[in-house]
Amino acid sequence: MEQLLVIGERVVIFSVLVSALYALVALGFTMIFGVGRVLNLAHGAFLMVGAYTAWFAQRAGVDLYLAAALAVLVCTLLAVALYQGLIRHVQHSVIITLIATLACALLLEEIIKIFFTTTPQILQPFISGSIVLHQTTIISNRVLAFVASWVAIVLFWLFVHRTRWGKVILATAQDQEGAALVGINVRHVYTVTWALSGALAGLAGVFFASWVNLSPFMWRDPLIISFAIVVVGGLGSLKGSIIAAYLIGFLEVLMTYSPSIKFCADYRCFEFLGASWVGVPSLIMLVLILFLKPSGLFGRAHE
């Protein structure tokens, strides 16, 4: 009983922490989808590029705060380059856009493999040490990631709802042609959303590295997380995204710490639930919601 309480406490604390990061991971992805109707399958790869940029700069002796800023910058430029150089020309076809962005993600994976090999790398934390809360030990860097994620989300919300540029973006998301009619340069708006999305991905990548190791395959999980959050939370709904992020984050953490049931036969064992099941709940939830309620739990109906 005592032990179960400890596990419960751990699950609650960790899921609160990681879910904020998940919300940040999905933010840029949701925005591009909401504004331009583009599903950017290279979003996870942007995160990876951000994390690797910070790692590379850090290895070269750059201060981590500066390295993080560099990661944000590189991802912003990469996103704008991808939009201007490629997506802009194929955006009219949904399928071509999907193939093109997936190809970009795999290209970036190849580049990372070529230059940094497949060996997992560790990004040194911003702040070392850990905090003990009741019976749970928390790595300080993850608390920082949590705080930074919320700050970024709140700033983003303020930008969208309180500034002129934000309103322009919202208007474009609602009705592209209407926005063009009142004199908004839609192409500029798209460029700005891609730049913002890249910046958010770069930041998310740096903090994502506080939970996972860096590897050329690390882009897949954030992409699935983003996609699951968009589908569960509904298209273009920030509130929905955050709720979805917490739902998915909670299920993931629950899996990591849940006790597993072992079935064995001939010295070979099958574990039901437990750490090897991480990622399964979001996949199942994703498929179920896509099949049963494709507009998401909080989204507006499809046009």
Partner: protein, 327 residues
């Protein structure tokens, strides 16, 4: 000359060419072309569903995985012989295709593609969870070799050519079948669905029925390849059976060759695998072995270029020549 006759002549030429060069290939290249032919089976299978109907599947490697792991595990643990494992794997892949096609086809465009992207990722989790049986990410050695001769005499060269011609025969049969199917009424309806689904419905045809059929056929063909690959590799290996890169390369092959043409996808498939090996050789030949790592990179870049400048692919260019000559 009808387009079908034209395609069949070109297919015959391709198949004969592959058949003739077999014994003359140096050992390394014989293996490369064997695997290239195997990959071409995947890409024509993909093309029959996605190229023809325009429903782009990102996760066709899932069917390779389902069939491959089924065949491999049945063979390794229950000692089923080859003639039982391969059909069982194929049928299971087809059933999975049917099972997922029904709900998946209710989804439009990008949602469909994304669900298909999730299938191999989910399967990969399952393989890792059942790691004690499947060998997890490392894989497991010990399946019966594809070539039956090897059980009696072991001769490397003969074994290699035997594998080569088994895959060659299957590829030829599958390509023939798919090109024939594509030229029947069913194929015409599938193409019409790609162009305008509403119009097909308005003509009193139920598009869902045809898409489900295409899904099942596609899964069956790709599953055949998957089951063969397990016996060719003599084991179940994660990288051969559930790699997302291979899954996307099927799209690359088809886009380069010409989507929805089957024959184009076959050429594209051969081109990618042979081209990759060619580039590796070239990198070693010019004394810069580091360059060989760039092979996959080059093909994904090529995909982007084709998406940009020649979205129709190679086959339609050649088909245009036929019309130009006025045959």
């Amino acid at each position: 000359m009808s387009l079908r006759t034209f395609k069949l002549i070109l297919l015959a030429l391709t198949v004969v060419a592959l058949g003739v060069i077999g014994p003359y290939l140096p050992p390394k290249w014989a293996t490369t072309v064997t695997f290239a032919q195997l990959f071409a089976i995947y890409s024509i299978g993909w093309d029959f569903l996605s190229g023809m109907t325009g429903q782009i599947s990102f996760g066709h490697i899932f069917f390779v995985g389902v069939s491959g792991y089924t065949a491999g595990l049945l063979n390794m643990y229950l000692k089923w012989p080859l003639w039982a494992t391969i059909p069982t794997g194929m049928v299971l892949a087809m059933l999975m295709g049917l099972l997922f096609s029904v709900p998946a086809l209710r989804l439009k465009g990008p949602y469909f593609s994304l669900v298909t992207l999730i299938l191999p990722l989910a399967a990969a989790r399952l393989v890792i969870i059942l790691g004690d049986w499947t060998g997890g990410e490392l894989g497991k050695f010990g399946a019966t070799p594809l070539c039956p001769i090897q059980q009696f005499v072991f001769d490397f060269r003969m074994n290699q050519l035997c594998n080569y011609y088994i895959i060659w025969g299957v590829l030829a049969l599958m390509a023939l079948g798919l090109i024939w199917l594509a030229s029947t009424r069913i194929g015409k309806i599938l193409e019409a669905i790609r162009e305008n689904e509403e119009a097909v419905e308005a003509a009193g045809i139920n598009p869902a029925k045809y898409k489900i059929f295409a899904f099942a056929v596609s899964a069956l063909v790709v599953g055949f390849g998957g089951a063969l690959s397990v016996h060719l590799n003599e084991g179940v290996f994660f990288n051969a059976l559930l790699s997302l890169t291979t899954s996307t390369e099927m799209i690359v092959a088809s886009v380069i060759g010409g989507m929805g043409t089957i024959l184009g996808a076959l050429w594209g498939g051969l081109l990618i695998r042979i081209g990759e090996q060619g580039m590796r050789d070239l990198a070693h030949g010019i004394g810069v072995p580091e360059l060989e790592k760039w092979a996959t990179f080059v093909f994904f870049s090529l995909l982007l270029v084709f998406l940009f400048v020649a979205r129709l692919g190679l086959f339609p260019l050649i088909a245009k020549l036929r019309r130009g000559k006025g045959v």
